[in-house]
């Protein structure tokens, strides 16, 4: 149907779509998890926060799981190299994610206060740890990771877990954590009322400011202080993967080349910045629904900015730049990409359709009265 080149391009877009889907849908769950012990002063308030996302968080997390499965299928070399390279980080991420299913389900099953506050902190870490690890990984993807391949395409990773905590990556952690907090607070503002909504609004104020500043600083850093990568040899974008044949140069500021090549790309960081300002305005005016749509847009544009700068790289290697994984040489076979495309085009609209239906059924604000009336049913 499509040629291999187009197919790979489509799959890069689908990868971005799934990353964005995860960040938009599960991003506010992670944010609310992080805010839980601080914004909820009483047990009932915390239960309001939990139940604002309780019925839907599980479906949201599935974006991450599907992202894992799809990257295994469509970009198996990326999946294998990233997960084994970042071994310790991935396990910390996993242990963080462990706390959520059990945290939501078990927290309110006993009335003991110690039990509940322990789970509240577990849920905090269930939001905080994934947010930190994922944005740390994103920052390191831009820096480049220390891996290379042998002749059998077995990857060898030479770095250590603590090496991930580089200054630029720490900055992207601030970008990521503040963005998820902002997104979570905006959702909370939409789904709660009175004092909780007020507190959420205050979070929107400071988290958006931190996000804006760190995002802009990161942008300047990428432009003048960070090594980017560029393929310097001819690449046959239609050929079977030929990972070790290309030449890659690594140089300061190269992540900016795409902006001169495709000027339209500048829209994405611009919209992230303007969108954040708009979220502030809309939240102040209490247009909470519009504010949520706008903050979703900010999340998407932030991801698009990073990915767009790196195109066509998915995973650059800092120790052997020519071994970097790009969308032209790390994809699945032609047949497998076609098959998966067919399934995705067929299934994702269905998934999005019933997800919207579930959100419609569960719409409306969650209040302290709801909690009081349904003590034994709700989370």
């Amino acid at each position: 149907m499509f040629d291999y080149e187009t197919l790979r391009l489509i799959w890069w877009v689908i990868l971005l779509f799934l990353v964005s889907g995860f960040a938009v849908m599960d991003g506010f769950d992670l944010g609310i998890g992080m805010l839980l012990p601080f914004l909820g002063k009483t047990d009932d308030e915390r239960r309001v926060m939990l139940n604002a996302i309780g019925p839907t968080w599980e479906g949201n997390q599935t974006w991450l799981i599907t992202l894992g499965g799809i990257s295994f299928g469509a970009w198996s070399l990326v999946y294998a190299t990233l997960f084994s390279g970042l071994y310790t980080g991935m396990l910390i991420l996993l242990f963080g994610l462990f706390l959520r299913p059990v945290g939501f389900d078990y927290r309110s099953k006993l009335t003991n206060a110690r039990w509940r506050s322990t789970w509240d902190w577990a849920l905090f870490f269930g939001g905080f740890v994934p947010a930190v690890v994922l944005s740390l990984a994103a920052g390191n993807l831009m820096i480049g990771l220390p891996f290379k391949f042998d002749n059998d395409f077995r990857s060898h990773y030479t770095g250590h877990f603590l090496d991930l905590f580089q200054p630029f990556a720490l900055l992207t952690v601030i970008v990521g954590v503040s963005l998820f907090c902002l997104h979570g607070a905006v959702f909370l503002h939409l789904r709660t009322e009175a004092i909780l909504a007020e507190r959420a609004r205050r979070v929107i104020l400071w988290s958006s400011l931190i996000f804006l500043m760190s995002f802009i600083v990161a942008g300047i850093w990428v432009a003048i202080g960070l090594d980017g990568y560029r393929i310097s040899s001819a690449v046959d974008t239609n050929a079977v993967n030929n990972l070790l044949a290309k030449l890659v140069i690594k140089e300061n500021g190269l992540w900016m080349t795409n902006y001169s090549k495709y000027p339209g790309l500048i829209l994405s960081p611009m919209m992230a910045i303007l969108g954040t300002a708009l979220v502030l305005y809309l939240s102040a005016k209490r247009y909470t629904g519009l504010a949520f749509l706008t903050s979703s847009l900010v999340v998407i544009c932030t991801i698009l900015t990073a990915a767009g700068s790196m195109f066509p790289f998915i995973m650059p290697s800092i120790i052997a730049p020519s071994n970097s994984l790009t969308l032209w040489d790390a994809s699945a076979s032609y047949y497998a990409l076609h098959l998966l495309l067919f399934v995705t085009v067929f299934m994702m609209p269905v998934v999005i359709g019933y997800t919207i239906w579930v959100y419609r059924v569960m719409r409306g604000k969650v209040t302290v009265e709801d909690i009081e009336n349904n003590r034994n049913v709700l989370y």
Partner: protein, 517 residues
């Protein structure tokens, strides 16, 4: 460098986390269908008690479901973290199945599970029933795709090795889907889950009846579990995957080791009911055999032979030698794609490439393997007999006892006297661990029986691991050990608490603990 220690630790971690995950999965599979049945009964009869049943068993379902989700994450991560070369080598085949599973099944179950718990007042009765059914279908669909993937590991079809990319590439999704091993595996595993759910409801209902509490509630639950359980246990046994053991090389190896058939017997082969297999002498001690039975079960005929281990090892030696030629020519091809001689030789032997890779454990170059190393590899191509022999018998024995329980329960339920037979209730209660024993042993047979391969005849286990260091592995093992122990204690604590409370935990005012005083 890949050392045996890395391979062993990676295998240990996978075995522990997968077996742990499977403590929760079968109950999710079974309970979700029982919930859907109970809620259907509520809609058909209009009796509130069926709604209470759906809600109460739903509470226990939720406690279990959370653990299933938690531990399932591990498995998806683990292919990448610990089995990176596997993930690359067969990612083109195995990966798409996980992707499809995510889009087709995981979204379905995890989107509707929230609505199942919180949608009671927001949905019409029929809408909620549909949600429950979708949840149940979603859980079984997840099982479908991951079992197709697992069946491919046992009996790889529909894929081909590409020497340019050095990996297996998918050529036909239909072949994967209609893999004969996949069909039996799915039915066997899912039905095993339904049995687990049924034994769970049966045992806990028996507990209520023994305690003389909430009798109408317990009787109805007991009845539903009996019907569904009997049908499921029959499905597990009659459509057990022994019938799939004649397809494919690895399945034949499994059959020979399960039956401790050291050498090929005259057809129809006898079934070894009991014996002590001796790995050294390759014979059975103190064996007790039933004539004909194995041949009939395994081949569904009286004239086909069941191959013995000695003959298999002999054949392995030939495959390995052919694999050495494939491997040698592959190296030549990798150096020069236009080497036509090497290409022809490789094509002629490429089906045995995997067997050549078995030698990697003993010599890095493969083509220089000594006869002793070939012997070692050939003997190592068959897993140890005792674990297979005993696991299988443990599984079957558990199954037979459960069959007995369900048949008797069915008989007395039909006579409407089951709730008075205290011996039956006790049997049902103390029989509750049986499905778990059977499930876990079943996976030991399936996965240990495939060794030394991750992908049968294609990729050896010791090549599949990631290039990680031992320190990381000990750290992650310790992490899993701590997390999984604590979580299991919490889960069991909550489960037992809610079982003790019974339907009174619904706070409807209609049940035992709310009516005293």
């Amino acid at each position: 460098m890949i050392t045996d220690e890395i391979v062993d630790l990676s295998r240990l971690q996978f075995a522990v986390t997968a077996l742990y995950h499977f403590l929760f999965v079968p109950l999710t599979l079974g309970l979700s269908f029982l919930l859907a049945i109970m809620e259907s009964l509520y809609l058909m009869s209009g009796k509130l008690i069926y709604k209470d049943m759906t809600k109460y068993w739903g509470k226990l379902f939720g406690i279990n479901f959370a653990m299933g989700v938690t531990t399932g994450l591990t498995l998806e991560f683990q292919f990448g973290t610990n089995w990176a070369y596997y993930s690359y080598y067969v990612g083109d085949v195995f990966g798409p199945l996980l992707g499809i599973e995510g889009m087709m099944a995981f979204f379905l179950e995890s989107t509707f599970v929230g609505l199942f718990f919180f949608g009671w007042d927001r949905l019409s009765k029929l809408q909620h029933l549909i949600v429950t059914w979708l949840l149940a279908i979603g859980t079984s669909l997840s099982a479908l795709w991951i079992l197709i993937a697992n069946a491919w590991m046992q009996h790889p079809v529909g894929a081909e090795f590409n020497y340019d990319t050095m990996r297996m590439e998918l050529t036909s999704i239909e072949e994967l889907f209609f893999n004969p091993v996949a069909g039996v595996k799915f039915v066997h595993t899912v039905a095993g889950g339904y049995v687990t759910g049924s034994m769970f409801v049966l045992g806990i209902s028996a507990y209520f009846l023994l305690k003389n509490r909430d009798i109408p509630f317990a009787k109805r639950s007991f009845r539903v579990a009996t019907g569904f359980g009997l049908a499921s246990v029959l499905a597990v046994m009659l459509l057990g995957d022994e019938s799939g053991y004649t397809v494919g090389e690895v399945q034949k190896v499994k059959l020979a080791t399960i039956e401790a058939e050291w050498k090929t017997e005259e057809a129809p082969a006898p079934f070894t009911l009991f014996a002590f297999p001796n790995e050294e002498t390759m014979t059975n001690e103190n064996s007790f055999e039933l004539p004909w039975l194995l041949g009939i079960i395994a081949t569904r005929s009286i004239d086909e032979k069941v191959e013995g281990i000695k003959e298999i090892v002999e054949r392995k030696r030939k495959f390995i030698k052919s694999g050495m030629i494939a491997y040698g020519n592959l190296q030549l091809l990798r150096e020069d794609k236009n080497n036509q001689v090497a290409k022809l030789a490789f094509e002629a032997h490429k089906d045995d490439l995997g067997h050549g890779l078995l030698l990697k454990k003993y010599t890095d170059k493969v083509i220089d393997a000594s006869p002793e190393q070939i012997d070692l590899a050939a003997r190592g191509a068959v897993p140890k007999v005792a674990p297979m022999f005993w696991s299988f018998r443990g599984m079957v024995l558990s199954g037979v006892i459960m069959l007995f329980i369900f048949v008797v329960a069915f008989y007395y339920t039909a006579k409407r006297t089951a709730h008075q037979k205290r011996w039956l209730l006790r049997l049902a209660f103390y029989g509750m661990p049986l499905p778990w024993i059977a499930n876990e042993l079943g996976w030991v047979v399936a996965e240990y029986g495939r060794q030394p391969w991750t992908i049968a005849n294609i990729l050896p286990t010791h090549l599949s691991v990631s290039s990680v260091d031992v320190g990381q592995l000990y750290l992650s093992l310790a992490g899993f050990f701590i997390f999984y122990t604590v979580l299991l204690i919490i889960e069991l604590f909550l489960m037992i608490k809610y079982v003790r409370l019974g339907p009174s935990s619904l706070h409807t005012g209609r049940y035992h603990f709310e009516q005293e005083g």
